[in-house]
């Protein structure tokens, strides 16, 4: 089946009560993505200063399943956590793929870029007998790729490696490109980690229709345009001033330190892990999709008001 961009956007956003399969992209999209995938430019996935959590989150995709993603939808030529080869064979292939598909392939970046100590804080491999720093890799591949998918908080906004006092001088992709004068477009897919639907949905949009509409923080509006607090299922408790004073107590989580009022993402309707649960039901929102996480939202369990911020 073919699918229009309009239909795609509608289906990506539709979750929860509207469909029996909640917490996932829906099956109609899978068929469309498979069709569109034939002959698609490859995706290469590289890791800098990160924790592999984004990759693990990607593996949790339900519809499409990760098997469908790997075998049918995305031509994933390089991924350090799943690929078969290692060492020189793997690294040579990465650079050969980038050269062969120059200007066409997409570069998924997980982790921030440690710019301190001439990049020695992160060296992801050996090329032609020499250790390559992640800084060098990003300068090289960053100018060859059609666009960067900055996956997760670290690549999108710096994340924990860039948290005070940022011992390794870690930077997000956008800031790094700005400093280096690299003009390649960057699509941020933040979250610590991002929901698998945000990753798969954004990659699918890029492959099928090009770069999606982005907000002022470089995120696809498709997934990141709604305020968590405004849409929270516990919102009515907030209106009634009924607050949870301890974990597990019924009420709005604001007193426990919830950062939902400053967070934009669709977790409130999408849920996590096939919608079996989500952060605020279980605890609070830490603002992990926002620029400045974690510092801007620390202390994490302190309420916004105590931090001098207004909640509406």
């Amino acid at each position: 089946m073919s699918i229009s961009r309009r239909q795609f956007l509608k289906l990506c956003g539709a979750t929860g009560a509207a469909f029996s399969v909640s917490g996932s992209l829906i099956p109609e999209i899978v068929a469309a993505m498979e069709k569109a995938a034939a002959g698609n430019p490859p995706v290469v996935w590289v890791q800098g200063s990160g924790c592999t959590g984004c990759s693990v989150s990607l593996l949790n995709t339900v519809h499409p399943s990760i098997a469908e993603v790997l075998l049918k939808i995305i031509s994933l030529k390089y991924h350090p956590t799943v690929m078969a080869s290692a060492g020189e064979k793997a690294f040579d292939y990465l650079y050969a793929t980038a050269d062969k598909h120059k200007g066409k392939f997409y570069l998924a970046v997980e982790g921030s870029i440690a710019t301190g100590a001439d990049g020695k804080y992160c060296t992801p491999g050996i090329l032609k007998g020499k250790e390559v720093t992640f800084v060098e890799m990003m300068k090289d591949l960053g100018t060859k790729t059609a666009a960067v998918l900055a996956l997760g908080q670290c690549a999108a906004y710096g994340g924990i490696p860039a948290a005070e006092p940022s011992p390794t001088g870690s930077k997000c992709v956008m800031d790094f490109f700005k400093d280096e004068g690299i003009k390649t477009p960057v699509i941020n897919i933040p979250g610590c980690p991002p929901h698998p639907d945000w990753i798969v949905g954004t990659i699918a949009h890029v492959l099928m229709f090009g770069i999606p509409e982005l907000d002022s923080d470089g995120r696809p509006t498709l997934f990141y345009s709604t305020n968590v607090h405004d849409n929270c299922p516990y919102r009515s408790y907030y209106e009634e001033k009924k607050y949870s004073k301890s974990f597990g107590e019924v009420g709005c989580r604001i007193e426990l330190g919830c950062k939902g009022p400053e967070s934009f993402a669709d977790c409130w309707k999408r849920g996590w892990n096939k919608n079996v649960n989500w952060c605020i039901h279980n605890s609070i929102c830490f603002g992990c999709t926002q620029p400045g996480f974690p510092d801007k939202f620390s202390p994490l369990y302190t309420k916004l008001e105590t931090m001098g911020r207004e909640v509406a």
Partner: protein, 470 residues
């Protein structure tokens, strides 16, 4: 003599480079280089101690619950609080579910491609060529299982999320217990998922491990290692922590000894840290990078227990606990199904590539079976948590076992803030470089003596390294 570098070592968490010297077809020397530094311990300084349990989870996205567990145990200790029974059980269930995820992921998605030929499409090509020994029919079954296991591990994460909020990175593990108050519908939801996972472990994962092992029997002799084993113990079975499902202790130079955390020191002569910080106990530990250090080759420190390198992981825990193995083990070893075989009956075979892989699979079954009982011990509606208040001053430590080995966190608190936080992670033990005395780390030792037939396709090097699940 020939030198070989493998960088990156793929299908692991993080960045690792291996250097080996090969002479006469065997490895004569090895170096394990940790090629990443992020500075978590420096970043944690000055923050609210409670935030540690969130931030440290991002040390490892494959085992965030391990770091969360170590951290909340550390905070419990420093805050002088104890979780209620529901909290202890809830923690065991969240952590247990992530263990199942991690072990299934390791065998099928991180290790299997060293034994099984994947489909002829990216990311399964390119690959090392040559030493794939499975019959084509069995190989095909294994590839199908690779795909099935992707779904199984995803379902394990649904179990983690049921009580932990989401996965990876959980919100439900906090100082004082767990956040979620159990309800009957969530317990049932957890239990029926566990049923499917147990069925997979018993009838697919375990038999396949032994089926694959049958084609690679020589690998029960390869990758011996230092033969010193360490376990901090995991899954407390009672609120006073008198008993653990997987027992603490060490096996040091052939002797069983009780655990004494005071015997841990971290050395840095060959790590990129200030030499003045070498030989410290983690409670007094320091993290001062020295990027241009001449003797340095790794960002990983060299922790030693009783001054000796010790291996951690399923092999250590199973050796310490010595449980009865599954009937699949009887079949593999040709022993009557009615006879009980215990882990130590494997003898020297345990200290090998396949010994570690079999230990992991047997442990996976043991944990899953125990979880099936734990879930029924929860009291619906009863609290899972006690209040956690940050003291003005305090010190604490939290020990646990990550799926890949012994894990400890140490904290000191001043003025309600973190004054020092030190993490000695599982792979820091296993992938450590030489210590100040020049003793090789466990992975380095396991590589020495390993036969490498084909320099272009050094299967055994990556098999040894990945058997530790770094």
């Amino acid at each position: 003599m020939a030198k070989l570098y493998i960088d990156p070592i793929t299908r692991i968490e993080g960045h690792l480079k291996i250097e080996v010297d090969i002479d006469g077809g065997k490895i004569t020397d090895a170096k394990s280089w940790g090629t990443q530094f992020r500075g978590f311990e420096i970043i944690l300084k000055g923050r609210d101690p409670r935030d540690a349990s969130q931030l440290v989870q991002r040390i490892c996205g494959v085992c965030p619950t391990a770091h969360a567990t170590a951290s909340i145990r550390c905070l419990d200790n420093a805050f002088k609080i104890k979780p209620p029974a529901n909290g202890r059980i809830m923690r065991n269930l969240i952590y247990g579910a992530d263990y199942l995820m991690s072990h299934v992921l390791h065998f099928y998605h991180l290790a299997a491609l060293d034994y099984v030929k994947g489909p002829n499409t990216a990311p399964f090509i390119p690959r090392y060529e040559g030493d794939y020994r499975l019959d084509p029919k069995i190989n095909k079954v294994a590839v199908d299982q690779y795909l099935q296991a992707l779904d199984i591990r995803q379902k394990c994460h649904q179990m983690v999320a049921l009580f932990g909020g989401k996965a990876p990175i959980v919100y439900g593990l906090v100082a004082g217990g767990a956040t979620e108050v159990p309800t009957v519908d969530k317990m049932v939801s957890f239990k029926w998922r566990l049923q499917e996972i147990r069925d997979f472990i018993d009838n697919i994962y375990l038999p396949t491990v032994y089926l694959v092992a049958g084609a690679y029997k020589d690998l029960f002799e390869v990758g011996v290692g230092c033969k010193n084993l360490l376990s901090f113990g995991v899954f407390p079975l009672d609120d006073d922590e008198k008993n653990f499902l997987l027992k603490p202790g060490s096996y040091t130079q052939g002797k069983d000894m009780p655990l004494d955390q005071a015997q841990i020191k971290e050395y840095v002569k060959y790590s990129f840290y200030d030499d003045k910080t070498t030989g410290l106990h983690p409670s007094k530990g320091a993290t001062k990078p020295d990027t241009n250090k001449k003797t340095g080759y790794s960002w990983v420190k060299a922790p030693r227990y009783r001054e000796l390198p010790h291996e951690g992981g399923p092999l250590s825990r199973m050796w310490m606990t010595n449980p009865v193995l599954s009937k699949h083990a009887n079949k593999f070893l040709g022993v009557d199904a009615k006879k009980e075989i215990r882990f130590r009956d494997l003898g020297d075979k345990a200290f090998s590539i396949l010994g570690r892989i079999a230990a992991r699979a047997e442990e996976c079954k043991m944990i899953a079976d125990a979880m099936d009982k734990w879930i029924l011990q929860l009291k619906p509606g009863a609290p899972s948590c006690v209040k956690a208040e940050v003291p003005k001053e305090g010190e604490g430590f939290g020990l646990t076992e990550a799926p890949r080995g012994a894990l400890g966190h140490w904290i000191s608190i001043k003025d309600h803030k973190i004054d020092n936080y030190q993490v000695v992670a599982a792979t820091i033990w296993n992938a450590s470089p030489r210590d100040d005395k020049g003793q090789l780390g466990p992975i380095e030792q396991a590589l020495v003596g390993t036969p490498v037939k084909d320099m272009k396709n050094p299967f055994n090097v990556v098999r040894v390294v990945r058997s530790f699940d770094p």
